[in-house]
Amino acid sequence: MDGQKNKRRISIVTGTHGDELEGQYVCYLLNRKIKEESEKLNGIVDVYPALNPMGIDTITRGIPGFDLDMNRTFPGSKDGAVTEQVAYDIVRDLLGSDLVIDIHASNIFLTEMPQARISEETANSLLSFAENLNIDLIWIHAAATVLRSTLAHSLNSQNTKTIVVEMGVGMRITKRYGEQLVEGIFNVMKQLDIWQGEAERLKKPIVCKDEVDFINAPVSGVFLPCVTHLTKVEKGQPIGDILEPLTGNILSRLYARQAGTVFTLREYPIVDEGSLIARILIEGGRNA
């Protein structure tokens, strides 16, 4: 949608993984509001609801027919297989946006609180936008852990600012998260002068870097949590059990090693040794 007066451009992309649906509701709400209040539009809003349309249509996380994670194919190749050509064209299309928001919904295994993920090297240029996105958390990743074949990395490395948002869980839509993020996107559009009005800090996100503790399954089994998502836990508090239905035994009881908030929690009960169970935002993460 083009508000004509200002040529600043924000791109909202989602649907890279066909099982991540939270962004569908965001695109719907965004489009609806822009149509209803089109007089406030003062720039370009490009909405890409389905980078992997066949995946969404067929409940397939990867690219159907190739069993391939699209977000490991960027920047693609003009001359490669069809998946690489698509990745190449997506990048070409998005380059030049003033800001790209790449919305993900974790996967079917984990529930996430609304958060932005940005790398250390892009933090300076992205933080001011991420802070206005009305999210709960900004997680800054160390350079060494950045995956270089993602859309966000491809765009950021070609000077198109891109923020990855993760929220909710795969195969579901969490209405309140969608509504929360849309409010944040309009806020950032104001910041970019694409939407009329003054940007404001709606929700103060916690900014964290290394203040995250990962809890992985020490054994394979059936995981049953004894906390809910976003619970504040004390050091030593049980997080859940890994059970063995065949014997009726508890194979492992998992505890919080640090006090903090469970911002990622295992949703899918079957776990392999190593499966991620929870991430805890350790108390003391600084406020933005």
Binding site: D69, V82, F214, N216, S220, L276
Partner: protein, 308 residues
């Protein structure tokens, strides 16, 4: 021959997945050969099983190079092979995007870390790799264009081509790349086939590895393959894509060579039966890749040619 469990993973209901290495000879860690990492790499696993069988006899004849040891790991992912799924059975991750791995991380990171610890320190590393799109390849050895690459040594496999590839962003997490970073000269071998056994192709690839082992002194005995390799960069390859989707009917000749203007295939509209596209070779050369399926999407890569 010594059998060693390099990494073991327990499952809720399945038998444990034991990743096994088969070690021949004693002494300097000379060559490590890795087979399948994906569940559809049947040919790659088969070639390694043949190598294990052959090297066992070689060892019994006392023909493993003195003071040298060879390890073959036929599969890193029997759980996926067992159910015919390319990537990890539960979360669909790719072990060959997890190197060097992380022992306290997620499942496939742990597998990569566990195995990588055992396969470090070898002078040469050979991996039977496969491409993510299905198709038939001209057998070749591939090396990545890094400061560590060694095309001259790659020629010792006596395969027709040594293909040099510019690393892509995801390559930094592959076994080949990480082997090189940890000072192992790494070579990826691509067989003609992936998800089914082709016995003559397997024999050819086995002979290629045995030739290499012979030339570097890891085994004694006779060389199996002869002939010089040509070093080519894959950026020079010519790709042919489908402009239309539909039935794909290949008209390739059996020689493996194409002439400029030669008809390679037709695409037929699946509803009307009309020929919607005729596909001709854009140049003269050796066929490097051909699409195997009976149906194609628009834009699909159908052929790659190494131009003369």
């Amino acid at each position: 021959m010594k059998e060693q469990i390099l990494f073991s993973l327990k499952s809720l209901y399945r038998e444990s997945m034991d990743i096994k290495g088969y070690i021949f000879g004693e002494g300097e860690k000379s060559v490590c050969i890795v087979g399948s990492m994906r569940g559809n790499e049947v040919q790659q696993t088969y070639i390694c099983s043949r190598l294990i069988h052959t090297l066992k006899k070689t060892e019994e004849r006392g023909e493993i190079g003195k003071g040298k040891s060879i390890m073959v790991i036929p599969s890193l992912n029997t759980y996926s092979i067992n159910i015919g799924k390319r990537f990890w059975p539960t979360d669909n991750t790719d072990i060959n995007r997890m190197f060097p791995g992380y022992g306290l991380g997620e499942t496939t990171q742990r597998i990569a870390a566990g195995v990588f610890e055992s396969i470090q320190g070898y002078k040469y590393g050979i991996q039977f790799a496969s491409f993510y799109i299905p198709g038939k390849f001209l057998p070749h050895v591939k090396i990545m264009q890094t400061e560590y690459m060694d095309a001259e040594t790659a020629k010792l496999f006596a395969l027709p081509y040594v293909v040099i590839r510019n690393p892509r962003p995801y390559d930094t997490t592959t076994l080949n790349y990480n082997w090189q970073i940890w000072n192992t000269k790494a070579f990826s071998l691509y067989a003609k086939q992936t998800n089914a056994i082709d016995v003559s192709d397997a024999e050819y690839m086995e002979n290629s590895v045995l030739t290499f082992l012979h030339k570097i002194g890891a085994i004694e005995g006779e060389e199996r393959l002869f002939g010089a390799s040509v070093v080519v960069n894959d950026s020079s390859f010519v790709s042919v894509h489908a402009k239309k989707g539909g039935f794909f009917l290949s008209e390739l000749n059996d020689s493996g060579f194409v002439r400029e203007g030669e008809k390679l295939a037709v695409i037929v509209d699946p509803l009307s039966g009309e020929v919607s596209e005729k596909i001709f070779a854009p140049c003269k050369g050796r066929l490097y890749y051909s699409f195997p399926s009976s149906m194609t999407h628009q834009g699909t890569l159908l052929f790659r040619i190494i131009p003369d």
